[in-house]
Symmetry: C2
Subunit: 593 residues, 2 copies
């Protein structure tokens, strides 16, 4: 067996004159009057090999049997190409290999699609033949970058005294484990393990253990209805520290991100990252993960319009809602149709209508203008910085709906106006998330992050008066409009934890029932601690400029949680189920228990 001495893509003019052995796949073959050219591909790139009766002898006839994706071993001399045959499109384009020996290591059937970037292939076909799809250079680059990113994370964290600890995959179903994957136990009939949605409990226990700095590139699982950007199993870079303040932790994470971006994307990210409060993010961008590569901020105009003649505005404000506006700079010339076309988009986010004003010929124009008086028009002009050629878009509804509608319109219009620089990586921290949200249905507060999130010290008094006001020591890292990570400082003091449980409406007994061993652990000397988790798949997606998580995962599942390659999940033997003490309970018409 002739095994490679060099990689195809790494040969340069410096190798001219050397005899090399290459192993790789046939990318393409061309026959020019008895001279055969085979482009040979390995993971490093492509090189042209030449079979010519002058120097190839028997190798020519053997090479002639090779087809696309055959695996070859070739031996030959590296030579410079003639000036007119230089191919400037590939790094090895100035040279070629004159083959003297060849071995067909393996044959290949004709693949269902051609192995190259940018092929137009149905994704289902790509996933079924993932092993061929992964031969495409862009997929290999993505997997290599992912590996590199993992390496940068680890080396940085190792250098900072973090300890890589593996936490269990077979663990216990959580009290609110509706989305847990369950695993029946053979040894304990009727009992189940659960796959972790995150290593949260274990990483906090490791802090109780005095490990001080923990990390893990951890597989997590969530059995939920899948959207385009979710996978049933996903990877997070999971971090927990003791004896650090929130600021110290965020500083350390910034340093890590800067390093990551240098080493994977060759980009310098300036520090410190912008820090924006949740309240500001929602107010200005209608989102807790704002895309800060551009402005186009929302403005609250409730005060101005609440007394106007626009009845719907007045009513919304009176009912506790909000009216906000977005100044789409320079869109004042849009046709009525162009403006109306925004409505179905806005409706997706809950908009019942979309009021607008054009600034044209020095004045406000549009159906609602007549309901404003001069003072209101002046105030709006000032508040929104309205100028000739602008389009003002209004949303009036509950706070959440307004944020969703205008936040998404902002993104759409920003994209449309070319305000978004896709080469830019704009990181920011969103801080001061609310600790509690009010669940209208359950008529009680629920933890926005989780019940162990530490409240802001200054807000603890609100537990007794207005729990909804309490800010959490919780923070998200956002990048270009995506959340790429989140974390919080954790409660470590018993009295604070009790206040928290009380706010959530748990009795002591309920708290113990739900969080038993963790609460017990906390009684044995818990250090102040906090942590973070990066969404690794999404981060890799953004760094590589892909738009789909599946592109960043070697063997992903489809939106219906199926692996098209292995055809998992699948049926299993009755006998296997019997051993696990379970049986199927399929909902069939005639079935009765």
């Amino acid at each position: 067996m002739m095994l490679k001495t060099h990689h195809c893509g790494q040969l340069t003019k410096a190798h001219v004159g050397e005899t090399v052995i290459l192993n790789g796949w046939v990318q393409v073959r061309r026959d020019f009057g008895g001279i055969l050219f085979i482009d040979l591909r390995d993971r490093s790139g492509i090189i042209q090999t030449v079979f010519n009766p002058e120097f190839s002898g028997e190798a020519l006839a053997i090479a002639d049997r090779a087809r696309n994706e055959y695996v070859l071993a070739v031996k030959g001399k590296v030579v410079e190409r003639d000036a007119e045959t230089v191919n400037p499109n590939i790094p090895t384009g100035e040279i070629e290999v004159q083959v003297t020996e060849i071995e067909i290591m393996n044959a290949a059937k004709t693949p269902p699609f051609f192995i190259e970037d940018g092929v137009e292939v149905d994704e289902a076909v790509r996933l079924k033949y993932r092993y061929l799809d992964l031969r495409r250079p862009e997929m290999q680059r993505t997997l290599m970058l992912r590996s590199k990113a993992s390496n940068v994370f680890r080396n940085f964290l190792d250098s900072q005294g973090f300890i890589d600890v593996e936490t269990p995959i077979l663990t216990k179903s959580t009290p609110e484990g509706a989305r847990d994957y369950l695993v029946p136990s053979r040894v304990h009939p009727g009992e189940f393990f659960a796959l972790p949605q995150s290593p949260q409990i274990f990483k906090q226990l490791l802090m109780v253990s005095g490990l001080e700095r923990y990390y893990q590139i951890a597989r997590c699982f969530r059995d939920e209805d899948l959207r385009a950007d979710r996978q049933p199993e996903f990877t997070q870079v999971d971090i927990e520290t003791s004896f650090l303040s929130q600021d110290q932790l965020l500083d350390l994470l910034e340093e890590l991100v800067v390093k990551l971006m240098q080493e994977t994307a060759n980009v310098e990210i300036p520090r410190p990252f912008q820090r924006i409060t949740y309240a500001d993010a929602m107010a200005k961008y209608g989102s807790d993960k704002p895309d800060l590569r551009f402005g186009l901020e929302l403005e609250d105009v409730s005060d101005i319009v609440s007394t106007s003649g626009v009845q719907v505005f007045a009513n919304v404000v009176k009912g506790g809602g909000q009216v906000k506006a977005l100044n789409a700079k320079g869109c004042g010339t849009w046709s009525r149709k162009e403006i109306d076309d925004l409505l179905p988009f806005a409706a997706r986010y809950g908009a019942k209508g979309l009021a607008w004003i054009q600034v044209k010929d020095g004045e406000f124009k549009g159906p609602i203008v007549k309901f404003f008086n001069e003072a209101e028009i002046v105030a709006l002009t000032e508040r929104l910085g309205a100028e000739e050629g602008d389009l003002l878009l209004f949303s009036a509804d509950k706070k959440k709906v307004v944020a969703d509608v205008l936040g998404n319109l902002r993104l759409k219009i920003g994209r449309q106006l070319g305000l978004i620089d896709d080469s830019k990586f704009k990181y920011a921290w969103v801080v001061d998330f609310p600790l509690l949200g009010y669940d209208e249905e359950a008529k009680r507060y629920v933890a926005e992050h989780h019940p162990f999130t530490r409240p802001n010290e200054d807000d603890i008094h609100f537990f007794d008066t207005d729990p909804g006001q309490i800010r959490a020591q919780a923070y998200d890292l956002v990048l270009n409009g995506y959340e790429v990570g989140g974390g919080s400082m954790r409660i470590y003091q018993r009295d604070v934890q009790e206040k928290m449980f009380a706010a959530l409406g748990f009795s002591k007994e309920e708290a113990v029932e739900k969080f038993g061993f963790l609460l017990e652990a906390f009684e044995y000397g818990t250090p102040p601690h906090g942590g973070f988790a990066f969404g690794f798949d999404r981060l890799v997606m953004l760094i590589t400029g892909r738009t789909n998580l599946r592109e960043t995962i070697a063997f992903p599942k489809t939106a219906s949680a199926t692996d098209l390659l292995t055809d998992a999940p699948g049926t299993v033997d009755e006998k296997q189920l019997e051993q696990l003490s379970i049986r199927l309970a399929l909902k069939q018409p005639a079935a009765k228990a």
Copy 2:
């Protein structure tokens, strides 16, 4: 909150005069006539802090409330201890910290056991309070070494162009998946994912993808009856390469192991590692994972004794069995009782008896000696190097039983005679494993490794004549009598694969049914490839000198696959099961389908 400026264990005389803040746990407190000494512990070590009315002010009274395992923040000056109070047993024994400020960060209940090395605590208690157990220095050292080892593996493999690829945890049940953990799918009622016993299929597919060098520190799962040295989830350092010969791969792995031992154990392992064939290992040591730190080799004496008057020897040889002997050097003085005591041990490995000869006063002594003639005694003396004071132990049985009995006696006696140097790390390769074993029950050959293991080229002709003779290109790495890893070159040629399936008695249809998509993948240009997997838990166990895998895993399961900390597995809501379209099928007396 006073946050640490230094780690407890890292303070030295060089810090004398500095004011430091430390955070840690109260290891122990002592009160000497109004002066309070608190040994403060963090993951770096322990330091003595002093509270004295002279310089501590109010801190003394606060410190007086602290008990074992309280979490403290202290601020104070590093001073040299008086000569007579220097503690040579701890690295910080020459200094102490005179505390001026203190903060009790958290209180602690009295822990169920004292936090120190070498405590005599029931393992069940340690596992239930694992977060306290992990505070013990030896556990922290083990976790840190494990993290370090993982780091060494990764950095070496990264430097050699290996790509870290995550393969699915939710995958498909394998055809012989009797030991698969199953995961019911909510989205696909009646169907199941399986947790992987290894990433074998995916790593081979990655080679088909042209990735050339893959690695992953991979979690694997096996639902089997647990022995002391098994865990339901375990970690392997999983490796696969293309276009390398077996020798090239083993060389690379040796380099990796040498580096690992340097960086984790500060030990130099000489290269090349000994390579011993499976046949030799079984012949000389009665084991395919021989402890090569000492000799005490087995000798086949079948030829000498088959004609002797010892009827059982003659019969065994006639029946296709074997008689082998072990020369326990210097044990010729053992009493009859000492020798007899070996029998129950040997019986555990299948021995029906244990014949022996003592060399005493210049002659052979023992019950069987009278059945040998002079020539036989001379031959035995020569074959076994028998000398005055030796004890010769014989086992006569089927080959496998003889190997088990004498292989284990060799270990026991080697240990007893002090032949085993526990400070030594003796690595070796066991190579040339048989490709196929004959399953007497099924009356057919079965793959010893797996059906994709490449046969030795020289033995392929045996497929037609005597498949049992075929050596595999399979290899194990052994260390001090443990298998710490194994691998093989894989079949990549269609005709060889067909021969293999035929030898296993599979029709083409059966092969497709069992290995469908993998066989299809192999048709699209599969490179020659092979791989390896280190048993990471066991390797860490051996490097740290522990004797139990549970000591190397942060949150292990017991021998009955239970997590005593979280109490997993556990029961789940009926509603959860309903969503998964399964129900319990417990075997209760009255239950009927």
